[in-house]
Amino acid sequence: MGWAALERPSDPLAVAGVEPADTLATRARLSRLGRPAGIVLLLLLLAFLSLYPMVMLLYGSLHSTPPGISGEFNLDGYAGLLTAQNLQILGNTVGISLVKTILSMVLAILLAWIVARTDTPARGTLEVLITLPFFLPPILTATAWAMLGNAQVGTINLVWRWLAGTDSTLIDVYSYGGVIWHMMQYSTPFIFLFVVDAFRAMDPSLEESSRMSGATRWQTFRRVTLALMLPVTTSAFILSFIRGMEGFESAVFFGTPVNINVITTQIYNLITQQAQPDYQTATSLGFAAMMLMFLLLVLQSRLLRKRSFTTVTGKGYSPNVIRLGWMRWLTFSVCIAFFVATVALPIGQLLLSSFFQFFGFYQLDMLTLDHYRSIWTNDEFWTALGNTMLLGVAGATATMALGGIVAYVTTRTTWFGRRLIDLLAWLPWMMPGMVLGIGFLWGFAILPHAVPIYGTLWALLLAYVALGTPVAVRMTSSAYQQIARDLEECSRVHGAGWWQTFGRVLVALAWPAFAVGWVLVFFGIMRELSASILLYAPGTQVLSVVMLKMWAGGKPEDVSVIGLLMLVLVLVFRWLQLRFIKTRISTL
């Protein structure tokens, strides 16, 4: 078998081979120009999406009146922050978020390990079940938990008293514990989604060599497996911690009634609970919170600097699956317990309620399908659903595309300006959503009228992309960091351009992360309210706004029907996704 057999005179590539040198040089020059142009374009886009609303907010925080009203520049907003009350609020915010993040992290890692690395039965199903709570509208789980965990008449306490024959109260959701627990229902699956694929895609020799060096299974887990997952886990930790500090629903439902205040409820008070909204103090508080989070990010990047975390290499491997023996039923129960506590209980409560005229009144004469009928015949709901689907699909796709590119630039290149790009992509995540929504409103409204953004679906789409990009960047950059550079370079040398390599190697390899990121962003969009309500226009209303209307209009039962519909949607999405991942990766 010789070289001649490979040769074909008609080969178009052979013809391309005699291409004159100057054509090549021109093309090379173009690609040389392409990079700075690309960076500038990316910077401009990110600046518009994140810096621009931030600048508006900065103006708001430094000016005695919001944009458009004459006033003066002063530092009153910031000067007013240093009070004992605010210090206590800060302590609450950080404390609650830290505790919930740590607890969620431990739980999420345990669950991810069980699903990815043990022979626990029905792991595929468990994976879907564990991630479900993330996709439930918080307003619904809060309602459900208010019914379940109320100190006086909560279902759990009633059952407890009946079982134990005491008068004592088992749980009270109106407490620090309640706030933290409600937050954990979101952060645990969130972190789980981040880490589970990292567990799955790890070269087993890295762990085996630790075992061979005399480390026990636990030592290996702690010092090798976890250490290698540091970029993923710290990313997830920071994201979750920051989200916790920005969390609103849990605190307002279970904290405010018992005087547990956090930064977001304080901002909410400043904007909506005073006769004269105090945008200056609210935005200043937003920026103060942002500085705090910025410090966290700096800490993270220091922690990870100059360390290699490549675990997906060009060499073949299949992840270690540990045989647990009878213990697998124990791990199985842990997953089921989590599912029961975070999904089955609240959703069971909601499902039950959705067939009764009122939440919590389970009498036969109140059985009804009215809530389903009312949603089915609600035109507004269907318009909003259509808009939300359109925005969700377009937004999640655009966000993942942008996030994938930003992550590439920040993790795989040494380009000048990549740190700036990274920072810009981060900004929206660090500003509490309530404040950021105002930034978008101000920013989009004062654009020249010829720019058709304000009052159109574009305004919502752009805001959603800006809000989703940080997750997309974290998700994909964690995945990239695990992919050996060789795999990418090999593609370039063998004739694929940058875009081809990006699509066929990086994205294809990081596909599970892209898929999960897409779903996270999609449902983030479905839930987003703060910016939506300020940016929607007649005709472009979205699901979250309609849900708020129903809620405020005294129809929480109808909202729970929508929540259940969303849950079905999640199940379909996740099922399709995991099926697809399986067919592509099962060979691993």
């Binding site: 919001p66 904007i271 004269q276 409103l441 101000w442 226009a537 007649p538 708020l548 929480p556």
Partner: protein
């Protein structure tokens, strides 16, 4: 249909007929407004009532009657205000009508967000309780009362006066809308303060009321028996709680209220439609829609047409409302008293 006394009915019918004649048919000036409105063909309403089916019904009735499409933009009070403000600052004049509580409306009037609406025939029917000027049209009223759980509170034990809340037997048994935040709670705080003074609140605070901001849930919590009493209960929610073991009580002193107003936004693109809508909103048919739902109407002669189960509650004294000037000071005081 609840029977209405013949006399009342006749009086009402006469009133309506007179108003109609004056408004729609005889006045050539008004006819111009109607024609202009139809030509404009569209109306954008910024409203702070979220998800109210009664408002939606009125919008639809207007569309049906005049063939003018209504586009409501619903958001919470402060969000509506901020959108209007920034849009006007940016030179985007999108909204025609602003519909909001009196406090926010007052602030926006001060900021110059409105323009005078011009003569509106039905304004002459407005109840004397409510002030009328050239920019603000009183359109409906949210009334606050008490909600009790019928299973837990025997008729004899029902509070008759607001001051009965201070009875030690209610200690720890009162669920309350948060008085430290805008909304029903804050109105209740101001009106009680105006009527009974600071001591009332100090004593009420000693009863350890439980605060919540989730109104719909609070009403259900009361119905489920978690708390026997809920204050302040907005009367228009009553129709949604039918068949639950709850009862609304308006104490003898009367009911605190929030007045909602319609105003024409500055440089409204459809001024005639806006004016026509304001007049339409004050028609007895529309006001009755609100009254039947538990809102107090703002024009005379409507409460009388309300079904008997609701009428006594509406036909009570308007006790007072909050004023924008002192709102923030009052919120601070509430925070101080209810720690």
């Amino acid at each position: 249909m609840t029977p209405i006394s013949r006399k009342t009915f006749l009086a009402l019918a006469a009133g309506f007929a007179a108003a109609r004649t004056a408004a729609a048919q005889d006045d050539p000036e008004w006819q111009k407004v109607v024609d202009g409105a139809k030509k404009e063909g569209k109306l954008t309403i910024y409203t702070a009532t979220l998800g109210s089916r009664y408002h939606k019904a009125v919008f639809q009735a207007f569309e049906k009657k005049y063939g003018i499409s209504v586009e409501p933009l619903e958001a919470r009070a402060s969000e509506v205000r901020e959108r209007v403000r920034i849009e006007q600052a940016a030179g985007r004049f999108v909204g025609d009508i602003h519909h909001n509580g009196a406090t926010t409306t007052w602030l926006m009037l001060r900021d110059g967000n409105f323009q005078p609406h011009g003569p509106i025939p039905n304004l002459k029917n407005i109840e004397t309780t409510y002030e009328v000027d050239d920019t603000r049209v009183p359109c409906e009223v949210i009334s606050y009362c008490l909600l009790v759980n019928r299973n837990q509170v025997k008729p004899a034990d029902e509070p008759k006066s607001w001051q009965d809340l201070l009875d030690p037997k209610w200690a720890g048994k009162i669920l309350s809308d948060d008085m430290r935040a805008l909304g029903g709670g804050a109105v209740f705080f101001v009106v009680m303060y105006d009527k009974f003074g600071k001591t009332f609140h100090e004593k009420l605070a000693a009863q350890k009321p439980v605060f919540s901001r989730d109104i719909a849930n609070s009403e259900r919590r009361t119905a489920r028996g978690e708390y026997p009493l809920y204050i302040p209960f907005s009367l228009q929610d009553l129709s949604q709680l039918k068949s639950l073991p709850v009862k609304a009580i308006v104490p003898t002193e009367g009911r605190p209220y929030i007045l909602f107003q319609l105003s024409m936004l500055k440089n409204a693109p459809h001024p005639n439609a806006a004016r026509l809508f304001m007049n339409f909103y004050l028609e007895p048919e529309q006001q009755l829609v609100f009254a039947n739902a538990g809102y107090n109407p703002t024009i005379k002669g409507v409460v009388e047409k309300v079904p008997e189960d609701l009428r006594p509650l509406l036909a009570t004294k308007a006790m007072g409302t909050t004023t924008p000037e002192k709102q923030d000071a009052m919120l601070a005081l509430a925070k101080d008293i209810y720690k």
